[in-house]
């Protein structure tokens, strides 16, 4: 659960831009192209752990609903790009997931806190694991 972040409708501070348009801007993707075929969801290796399927996330954003911001999905995603290669319409769904994460991270929400990580474990992990994790999960 996204602690400490209100469930208010999404406010950007930018007057004339809708949530959907903001996601499109950050991800560089045209969300209108998605016709809900479900190829992304079926290919996603982590879809079973997600509360919202990737294709459902796409649908919600198309409808201007910001539920995905408060889902587990965007934080479970491992950015493997399986969805990007499978999409028949050429949409980079991984970038859409990243855009949703960025909208939370840029509001100072962190999914991972350094204090909750075991220091001994940190000492054993390869640097690339820690660096990439913090880049995706920490504000």
């Amino acid at each position: 659960m996204a602690l400490g972040v209100s469930r208010q409708p999404y406010r950007h501070g930018v007057e004339n831009i809708s949530f959907k348009a903001r996601v499109e801007e950050l991800s560089g993707q045209n969300l209108n192209l998605c016709y809900q075929c479900g190829a992304c969801s079926s290919g996603c290796p982590l879809s079973r752990e997600m509360d919202l399927l990737p294709s459902k996330v796409m649908r919600l954003v198309q409808l201007g609903r910001d539920d995905p911001l408060y889902s587990r999905t965007i934080w479970i995603c491992s950015t493997c790009f399986e969805c990007e290669v499978r999409c028949p319409r050429g949409i980079d769904i991984a970038s859409v997931m990243e855009a949703l994460r960025q909208l939370m991270l840029r509001r100072k929400y962190s999914e991972v806190r350094l204090e909750s990580l075991d220091p001994e474990e940190l000492g054993r992990l390869p640097q690339i694991a820690v660096i990439s994790n913090l880049r995706k999960m920490m504000a």
Binding site: L122, G123, Q127, I131, L134
Partner: protein
Amino acid sequence: MSGGEMVTVYIMGKRYRVPANLTIMKAMEYAGYQLRRGAGCRGGFCGACSTIYRMRGSFRLQVALACQKMVEDGMIITQLPFIPSEKKRYNLEKLKPGASVFLEYYPEIARCLSCNTCTKACPQDLMVMDYVQAALRGDIKTAAELSFDCISCGLCAVRCPAEIVPYHIGQLARRLYSRYIVGPSEQVQRRAMEVEMGRFDEEIQRLKSLDTDTLRELYSRRG
């Protein structure tokens, strides 16, 4: 009074006319400030007088040590008498020199963007980004050598967008370097042995027996 040229400086937003041949620190004192924090050795070595300033007409944010930098006309100055940071507690005897020790104690080092802002903020012109990066990949020697002249003034830490405190990284690197890589100093070990063998006992006893005036004279005639 020096009777020389005067310049205009802005100390925390207030305008003052001060002699041009003063350091920022002396100029602040000339203006009437009494520095209880933000002043130390006055010799560019303790890192207490971290100062940031802008020049009128330029957007650039510049850094200096107040005791070393001379004032210039149009300087807009403030001191940073304390930079918040937390040195992690570690037992040097129990550490292993390598990248993992940094990830264990200062995991925020993983956030380094290689933006070089720290290097640009260093009043000692050290290659800060390079020593942080060296630590991240376990190259203790390079991290120790490049951070050698660091005086922990904290200006790098204040500017870092990833909220890393580079001088803590450098300090740990230097400690690991001397403890594990360079090894104990030959000269120190030899001297310690000489002391234990009693080579200096007689001289110390002699000094202990002297009165204050004789000691004072000896001291001023030393070397």
